[in-house]
């Protein structure tokens, strides 16, 4: 590579040099991950059995100087306080730097080389970040297509955030288009000549997303604004040139400085690193995301539901403790309608107020029971239970997907990545019931519990990958050993191509938690056109439910692009 003409290495003014020092500290701080969790996660990646989330987590992290905390005047200022604190520290640092240079008499004339490298750091940080984001749209999994439960929910019974997510979920091909735009913007940032165009696309697309997040309370406003900030920094040199050329109609000479890479080892290193980045974040990540889309869409349960239990069902008869409860919209005991999804979920509505999970229902859970997109942000009496099916004895063991104490999500993303936000003094017991869960890739931060996934619950451990008899002990074993043997290990119930160490690890430490549970025997007649459920509901009442499949003929037709294999 070569330097441009001698015109370039001019001397910078004092103001420019100070501004550069401040910007240097600020943007380097913003480009480096600042949470211990991130380093912990990345160090433990198993590169031989990757999950898309491994690479995604590398690309999505919070940054900024947070050793002084994330609050300013007692508030996080919608999450932006961290930037402001970092900015003040950068100013201080920049001034100190200037002072040191002056004192030592080593004042420089210009920072062309260092500016170039700063821009490289920002370009690559923005590039891999937006590609991580973009690929989950390119292979449309970020906004899932609504399942039967959501299709049967009234429009007014959803949060604005849910409405927005679904409005993109219903058009997977448009989501692909949005993913193309984001991925292309990111890729253009990897190359010098196309950086301006990439930054313009980035600022346009993400500027819109920031506004969307504020309007719909989507929760990812900080992370989206982050890209707008980085893109703006990359454009700060180009906009005056465009203004000069178009508005002032003057002859404009662009001045760009590129250091020379004449030494062979420099050239090899540069090309090697660049190729590695592109290989990982365009090549490998694409493959992993494709596998995720085909076999394990991260916001949808991955395990297929029972074949004969699929579709919309009308409740023909409902008996509670042997008493028939006739259908009435005012009654609060009976189930009004039932949906069996393609995956292992049972959804139904009951006219009874229930505490709601209003989080985004995304993030990185590997277990089906924690993939809560189908229950988050919806009311109308909707309940969703994840089931384990003993297809030999024909019994369903169901767990409520709603959890009173929410999980931490997006641990690696940290504050700036709109992931977990550690508020001072949070402890597990201090959480109120029904509190919204921690963040999603599109979720807001909310203090979760400071520990891991564990909550109070029975001690029986459901281990995967290892043949172990469940422990007896405190709390009952709600699934008998014979049934467990019939059900098999959930971790293995997806296509082997989607197997990953991340999934195995999460299942290995999974414990039974305190959730509403039901045990229902199912009888199917006529290939599942009629289903009879009988057993015990979450209140330990005996229930007997006769369901008849109905053809709902939704106006919203299915898309040709469908995630998951069921």
């Amino acid at each position: 590579m070569s330097t441009t003409t001698a015109v370039t290495a001019t001397s910078w003014s004092n103001g420019q040099k100070i501004a550069f020092r401040i910007a240097f500290i600020f943007f380097i701080s913003l480009a480096i991950p600042n949470s211990v969790e991130w380093y912990d996660t990345v160090i433990h990646i198993d590169w031989t059995r990757l999950n898309y989330r491994d690479l995604y987590d590398i690309a999505r992290f919070g940054s900024g100087i947070n050793i002084f905390g994330d609050h300013l005047f007692g508030s996080t200022l919608l999450g932006y306080a961290n930037w402001i604190i970092t900015f003040f520290i950068s100013i201080a640092g920049g001034l100190i730097w200037t002072l040191i240079m002056r004192r030592r008499g080593t004042e420089r004339k210009e920072y062309n080389t260092l500016y170039y490298w700063l821009r490289v750091v920002v370009r690559y940080r923005a590039g891999i970040g937006i590609i991580g984001f973009g690929f989950t749209k390119l292979l449309p999994v970020q906004m899932p297509y609504p399942g039967l439960g959501l299709l049967n929910t009234n429009f007014g019974d959803m949060t604005a955030q849910k409405i927005f997510w679904l409005s993109v979920g219903i058009v997977p091909w448009y989501q692909v288009f949005a993913g193309v735009v984001e991925s292309v913007a990111g890729t253009l940032l990897f190359f010098r000549k196309t950086t301006t165009l990439g930054a313009i696309l980035l600022i346009g697309a993400l500027g819109d997303i920031v506004y969307v997040n504020f309007a719909y309370d989507g929760g990812v406003h900080v992370y989206s604004s982050y890209f707008v900030l980085l893109a703006a920094f990359l454009l700060v040199d180009d906009l005056p040139k465009v203004y000069n050329l178009l508005i002032r109609e003057r002859y404009t000479v662009p001045v760009n400085f590129y250091p020379s890479f004449s030494a062979l080892w420099l050239q090899v290193t540069r090309i090697g690193l660049k190729s590695l980045t592109i290989f990982l974040f365009l090549g490998v990540l694409f493959y992993l995301q494709l596998v995720n889309f085909l076999y394990d869409p991260y916001k949808q349960p991955a395990v297929a539901g029972v074949r004969t239990l699929r579709g919309n069902y009308a409740v023909t008869e409902f008996r509670l403790n042997n008493k028939v409860i006739p259908y009435s919209p005012l009654d609060s005991l009976g189930w009004h309608e039932v949906e069996f999804e393609n995956w292992s979920s049972l959804s139904f509505t009951v006219n009874k107020p229930t505490p709601l999970d209003l989080s985004n229902g995304g993030g990185d859970p590997q277990q089906d029971v924690n993939r809560t997109f189908e229950i988050t942000g919806v009311a109308g009496g909707r309940r969703v239970f994840h089931y384990y099916a003993d297809t030999v004895d024909k019994v369903l063991y169901l767990e409520d997907k709603y959890k009173a104490i929410p999980d931490r999500r997006n641990r690696a993303a940290g504050m700036g990545g709109d992931g977990y936000q550690a508020a001072a003094g949070d402890k597990a017991g201090g959480r109120r019931k029904g509190r919204r869960q921690g963040g999603d890739d599109n979720g807001t931060t909310k203090a979760g519990i400071s520990g891991g996934d564990t909550a109070q619950g029975p001690a029986a451990t459901y281990t995967s990958g290892v043949e172990k008899t469940p422990k007896e002990g405190k709390g009952k074993n709600w699934i008998p050993a014979t049934a467990l043997a019939h059900i098999g290990k959930e971790v293995d119930k997806i296509d082997p191509r989607a197997a990953s160490t991340r999934r195995d690890r999460e299942y290995a430490v999974a414990k039974w938690e305190k959730r509403n549970r039901m045990v229902l025997r199912y009888d199917t007649i006529d290939n599942g056109n009629r289903v009879i459920l009988s057993g015990v509901n979450e209140k330990n009442d005996s229930v007997y439910i006769v369901l008849d499949r109905i053809d709902k003929n939704f106006v919203l037709t299915e898309s040709s692009l469908q995630a998951g294999k069921y």
Binding site: F155, D157, M158, S167, Y174, P326, P329, A379
Partner: protein, 452 residues
């Protein structure tokens, strides 16, 4: 055109450049300048004493059409064919005259003026009906009580935008700013660039959601790209190739009078399509949002009602989600529409054209793209306590019936009458104090524990 010495010593255009220009000149001239007789028919039918923003919207929405029905790409193909023929004829005429014309800088300038203004008013027309959130209004009570799966994609798009008026205003603002930048020669390319990106997304959305504006939006994208192409080479030089770039060097020259004429025309144009239009749209938003009827409904009746008792003839029909006659709930809107949810199938009204000009009775936005409910406009006779219902769906235009209503007090309404099927119907409606998560979450935020 004027003679000018400033620009006369420019480089001559090459042969293919001249031909391409002739083609594009004819094509864009025909697209932008109203020559279709249907446009003038519309123009002369306007009531200028009661000028509505809808009328101005239609004036800014000119599209030359040969086909009838929804706009089609075939109209463009015909125009292109005409342009091609015209370009050949023009070339021949020019050659016959000895090839005098060496450059079309002047004509290019004027073509660009025409398309810049055409594009600007097209954007601003849509911009103001978003800035004042008219295009996608906040969902009606019936919309809030319809299953997600009972809407078409386009309707869901519109409803999803309607719940966030501030975002809709933002989008309108972007369109208006893009349009305003086009009115000034030097900022035209910036405006065109913003518009091209914005409309590119509009076009893809129309394809994905099945909106009706894909042809029109793609047309405007092509115009925006044409406007941008004037500066394309220099921008590519500057930003992509990172070489020195020369600015535009053509400056139009006007004689003394010409300057004033130009200023007067520009002012009048902007006044009509921006100031007046914006003002009328704003007041329209206050008084008469065009998507919903404006006639007031039964006083104090707005809300959703549970149908606690339902008789057809002499038979009481118990609550049922599967019976095709049993009413499941009834919604009275603030305006004179009521809708009934039942298991009776609905043939969709899938109209998706933007029509700000309709009269109150003709407004069917609330039921377009929706199933699950039947919608009736009604007139009230408060003396005899009668409601005369008319099904609003054009597929059921024969469905008219008369109901007697009783309001014994509180939140109960009793309806009785004879349906079109000659069955007598009796329904007791009790209003439900329904809380919508959409509104509860907005009020309390998603952090607090909400149980619903």
């Amino acid at each position: 055109m004027t003679t000018d010495t400033i620009n006369s010593n420019k480089t001559a255009w090459k042969g293919y450049e001249k031909f391409a220009f002739r083609l594009l000149f004819i094509y864009f001239f025909l697209q932008a300048v109203p020559l279709d007789w249907k446009y003038y028919q519309q123009l002369f039918s306007i009531d200028w004493s009661h000028l509505s923003y809808g009328a101005i919207f239609d004036l800014a929405h000119y599209e030359p059409r040969w086909s009838s029905g929804p706009p089609a790409y075939s109209d463009w193909v015909i125009l292109l064919a005409i342009s091609l023929v015209g370009a050949f004829i023009w070339t021949a005429v020019d050659a016959r005259g000895g090839g005098r014309v060496s450059s079309y800088d002047n004509l290019y300038y004027w073509l660009r003026v025409i398309v810049r203004y055409r594009l600007a008013i097209g954007m601003i027309a849509y911009g103001f009906i978003k800035l004042f959130p008219l295009q996608s209004p906040y969902p009606s009570i019936s919309n809030l009580n319809t299953n997600y799966g009972d809407f078409t994609r386009w309707k869901l798009f519109s409803l999803s935008l309607g719940v966030v008026p501030s975002y809709e205003s933002f989008l309108g603002g972007v369109e208006i700013i893009g349009g305003l930048l086009l009115f000034y020669r030097r900022s035209a390319s910036v405006g065109a660039f913003i518009i091209a990106i914005f409309l590119g997304n509009v076009f893809m959305s129309n394809l994905a959601y099945g909106g009706g504006d894909d042809v029109y939006s793609l047309y405007l994208v092509s115009v925006a790209l044409f406007v941008l192409s004037y500066d394309a080479q220099r921008l590519i030089n500057l930003l992509l190739l990172q070489k020195p770039a020369a600015p535009n060097s053509y400056h139009p020259v006007f004689r003394a009078n010409g300057r004033y004429v130009r200023l007067a025309l520009k002012t009048a144009f902007i006044f009509f399509f921006v100031i007046l239009y914006g003002f009328k749209t704003g007041s329209g938003y206050e008084k008469d949002p065009y998507q919903f009827p404006v006639t007031k409904g039964l006083p104090g009746a707005a809300g959703i009602y549970n149908v606690s008792q339902f008789l057809v003839g002499k038979d009481t029909i118990a609550y049922s989600k599967t019976d095709s006659t049993r009413w499941q709930d009834v919604v009275f809107e603030k305006w004179a529409t009521l809708s009934i949810r039942s298991n009776r199938p609905v043939v969709l009204d899938s109209d998706n054209v933007e029509r700000p000009e309709l009269s109150s009775e003709e407004r069917t936005y609330e039921l377009e793209g929706s199933a699950g409910r039947h919608y009736y406009r009604y007139t009230v006779d408060t003396v005899d306590r009668m409601l005369t219902l008319q099904n609003k769906n054009p597929h059921y235009s024969d469905e008219k019936w008369v109901l007697h209503y009783d309001r014994p007090g509180g939140s109960r309404i009793i309806l009785s009458g004879v349906t079109t099927g000659k069955d007598s119907v009796y329904a007791v409606l009790d209003r439900v104090d329904k809380k919508y998560l959409l509104e509860e979450a907005r009020k309390k935020g998603r952090q607090g524990g909400i149980s619903l």
